[in-house]
Amino acid sequence: MDMLQTNVQTEITTAAQADIAVSVSNVSKNYGDVEALRDLSLEFPRGQLTSLLGPSGCGKTTLLKIIAGLLDPTSGDVLVDGKAVTGPGPDRAFVFQDFALLPWASVMRNVAFGLELRGVAKSEREAIAEKYIANVGLSGFEKSYPHELSGGMRQRVGLARALSVDADVLLMDEPFSAVDEQTRRKFQEDLLSLVANENKTFIFVTHSIEEAVYVSDQIAILLPRPSRVSDIIRPTGLREKDMLTIRRDPEYLDIVDEIWASLRSYVE
């Protein structure tokens, strides 16, 4: 085999695909007679945050769970880093809407649980967990139990657990919908710095238009019955803005209006 040629070829392919971390092609999902997703294709650029936005019942969580490998598509493929998804894998980590914490385990064990399942030794995984507990601002709560924490703190535990397994892709299923408004705003700001600082790909399901526009590099609008991608919006100027002034930015306001105009007829 000609090594040089192969190398060149690989480089070209890599260059062409370098910015796509996750690619979903022609995915359909049926539940019996019900079509949840039909022939859906979407690409998720590396290092960026893509929101899946749409009215309830539009299959955005279904799509997320298919990417996670928790659900099998009826047809179609999901590629993560060029490899086909056949089930859950260490390249992806999931943040759950209802936090999904072990209620009988301390914050430390919960954060380290992903590593525990991967067979990482106790002292090593606790050192890693310690770091991420500090990162999400929960230092001092290592020995607390979930029922002793507020909703926002519980989701920080869920986030630290997903970060500590160091997956390339973070899948977030309406992660802020179960916390109060002020906590949510703080979370959104934290998420922006997370996207900027961690070199990870974020896939973020939300039903809030404002939230999607605020946090996203790319917004995929999904329309229901059966679900398909109706539009992809890429806010261009918002990333460079100060996170405190984004909500006053004309581009932000325009995009929010535009999305609402396209969605309103689907909301009953």
Partner: protein, 250 residues
């Protein structure tokens, strides 16, 4: 409860009933009810006797073995029924039938199958306890939050990890509740077994004392039995309270 502003310790009402028993016994209403004080002095008398000690040993042996098998077989069966639809469809009707069936009527069949010895008594005890343990473990698994299971799966849990690190713990409050009720039923099972299969253990003592109208002996053994059952049940209730902090928030 409070009386005249003084907090009464738990189960103070037993004192009143004990006093009533003593009075009825002293009034000599019936030979069937000797005074409570006499029952207790008999209790201390027979406590050291060989007959009592071997009866206690035999009963405890049958009881502990029976409960052991009920737990070791019942909990995994219940968990697998909760996880596996097919297994559930196959076994649930039988579990429900045996839970409500008059098991005493089955004891003669067990005697034919397993003989007149300890084996049959242990099986009887297990049969009394196991069904509610299965049903509760199953109910515990069925109420597990879907997203906890998805969480374990998404972080790559093996089936064994999911079983030992998520299912068992998430269902623990229900499992302990089932074990507590199962243990109480096992007390019934062991005594019925000892009365019907072979006159052994406490069953033999009951038979002996009641046949000879030794009522204070009879009551003394009964009190010991109640005491043991109550202690075990309270211990399990204590374990249940230990996990109650998360039972409501799964």
């Amino acid at each position: 409860m409070k009386l005249f502003g003084v907090r009464l310790p738990a189960m103070s009402s037993l004192l009143i009933w004990g006093l009533l028993w003593e009075l009825i016994g002293r009034a000599e209403f019936s030979f069937f009810v000797p005074p409570l004080s006499q029952v207790f002095s008999t209790l201390f008398e027979i406590f050291g006797t060989k007959a009592f000690q071997s009866a206690l040993y035999e009963t405890a042996y049958a009881f502990i073995s029976g409960v052991f098998f009920a737990i070791v077989i019942g909990i995994p069966t219940g968990i697998f029924m909760g996880k596996n639809r097919l297994l559930d469809e196959l076994l649930l009707p039988w579990v429900n039938i045996f839970l409500s069936a008059p098991l005493t009527a089955l004891v003669p069949v067990l005697m034919v199958l397993f003989g007149f010895g300890m084996k049959s008594i242990i099986i009887t005890t297990t049969l009394f306890a196991i069904w509610i343990i299965i049903l509760n473990a199953r109910a515990g698994v069925l109420q597990i939050n879907r997203s906890l299971v998805e969480m374990a799966t998404s972080f790559g849990a093996s089936p064994w990890d999911a079983f030992t690190k998520v299912y068992v713990w998430a269902a623990l409050p229900e499992i302990l509740g089932g074990v507590r009720i199962g243990v109480i039923r096992a007390v019934k099972g062991v005594i019925i077994g000892q009365l019907l299969i072979s006159i052994a253990g406490f069953g033999a003592l009951f038979e002996l004392y009641s046949a000879n109208f030794l009522m204070s002996h009879f009551w003394a053994v009964l009190i010991v039995l109640f005491g043991l059952a109550f202690t075990i049940s309270e211990f399990l209730a204590y374990l249940e309270r230990r996990v109650s902090y998360y039972a409501a928030k799964r």
